[in-house]
Amino acid sequence: MNPIFKILSNIGNQVTSRIWRLGSATRLFCLTLIYSSESFRRIHLTIREIYFTGVMSLIIIVVSAFFVGMVLGLQGYYTLQKYGSSESIGVLVALALLRELGPVVTALLFAGRAGTAITAEIGLMKATEQLSAMEMMAISPIARIISPRFWAGVISMPILASIFSMVGVMGGYLVAVPIIGVDHGAFWSQMNVNVDFRIDVINGLIKSFVFGVACTIIALYEGYDAPPTAEGVSRATTRTVVTSSLTVLGLDFILTSFMMSN
């Protein structure tokens, strides 16, 4: 075969396969929404998944947020003091966390901690024929397995992002006020004046909600679509992290552009 033709053919195959996967994931997403009423009817399933995806991710979220907040406090202080506005450190930490770092870092950590767990669990359920068994019992795996996990992820993400921002601000406060010596009142009052609930807090929550939808559906799709072998599940788990991370960063740019244009 002509080498150029071979290269073009490979590119074509890759593009077609990506589009096919996107369509397949969209179909799963639509079916998940259609079966959502089932997962809310059996709310205990969704609550159980919120525990596994949300509550169990709390440690990594809280610890990371604390360190991110402390680093922000340090970095912010050294830059702001050059301009004589070190009192604004509270605003810098809060805005950075609420607008960007809270939703984005939470989503990245969520993809690594909960997303991989979801993919591996569903992939293994498929490999051990548990999903087929459910189908043969006339029970839809999308209603029983996929939908509760989807809503658990979507509900957990904004809550985790809020906790991340809150703990991050505390980390920033710890570095700025007791350690560096920035005025306690200035730290909080500047933050109080300059952080807008509608623009900063709500937009951050909207972002984390969108990231929650994206990360969870990617994790679910990768698990549901994984070849039922050890290698297939391991590749699907890796793809979950890579695809979720890139999607979160891309979506963050798009959402920020829309939010800033307002």
């Binding site: 051990t128 024929e129 548990q130 087929s132 068994a133 189908e135 043969m136 019992m137 006339a138 029970i139």
Partner: protein
């Protein structure tokens, strides 16, 4: 009036892409009988069960369950047909996050509105039938292969299905577990008045309890008959399979060019 054959496969062809796994296969599964489908690994025995369960669609021909053509049903219709079926998967396919009790209770909780006290009685009854009432608190990871298979069997019969399908029920079991499963298949079939379809390649076991046997080879039914008829069969394939001969109509070597050519290709 109920049909004589609860499952009928007529002129069925199925394959992936250009490869045809089944070519014009016809089989019938009479009510109340235990029918075995036998054949070598990879001949598409399990696929026949998946076709009966409506998990895949045939390329030609049809599968009828209780008078209804499976692949012409919508999702709801297929689910209604599946409620008449119970399936034992090759490795049990127990839900690993649920206990033995909850695994057996699972179809009851999903499909009925029975009170929990009645579900408890029914689950213990089903587990007692497979001899594992005492293991109801265990998790699937704490069970041996044979026990897991028996729990899966209890789950498969949870809703007293009309058809029980078994996918390689003896694979990887020790002789005692094999004998237990063998006995359970026949006993449960007769006690529940169900119809059993068993996919297996274990000759001795299948010949001991099946009422009728189909041999599948090269995508079609190579032989069929009662165990007595088949054990006397002079057909080369049946003879090779029943006596476990390594060469015959099913060759020892996979299709390959000449050995000499393969060796010298690298020189």
């Amino acid at each position: 009036m109920a049909q004589k054959n609860i499952v009928e496969i007529k002129n069925l062809s199925f394959g992936y892409g250009n490869f045809m796994l089944h070519k014009d296969i016809s089989m019938v599964f009479p009510r109340g009988k235990v029918t075995a489908i036998m054949g070598g690994s990879g001949c598409g025995k399990t696929t026949i069960l998946r076709l009966i369960g409506g998990q895949i669609k045939p390329k030609a021909g049809q599968v009828t369950v209780d008078g209804k053509i499976v692949h012409k049903q919508d999702r709801q219709g297929i689910y209604e047909l599946r409620r008449k079926m119970g399936m034992l998967f090759q490795h049990g396919a127990l839900f690993t996050d649920l206990s033995v009790f909850d695994n057996v209770a699972f179809p009851m909780r999903e499909h009925t509105k029975l009170p929990e006290s009645m579900i408890r009685d029914l689950v213990l009854m089903k587990l007692n039938a497979v001899g594992l009432r005492g293991a109801h608190k265990l998790m699937p990871t704490e069970l041996s292969g044979g026990m897991a298979r028996r729990v899966a069997l209890a789950r498969a019969i949870a809703l007293d299905p009309d058809i029980i399908m078994y996918d390689e029920p003896f694979a990887g079991l020790d002789p005692i577990s094999m004998a237990v499963i063998c006995d359970l298949i026949r006993t449960l079939n007769d006690a529940l008045g169900a119809t059993s379809i068993i996919v297996t390649h274990d000759v001795e076991e299948a010949f001991s309890f099946a009422d009728y046997i189909y041999f599948v080879a090269d995508g079609s039914v190579a032989a069929e008959g009662t165990p007595k008829e088949l054990s006397k069969s002079k057909l080369p394939f049946v003879h090779q399979f029943v006596h476990g001969e390594k060469d015959g109509p099913v060759p020892f070597h996979h299709n390959a060019p000449s050995y000499k050519k393969d060796i010298y290709e690298w020189v």
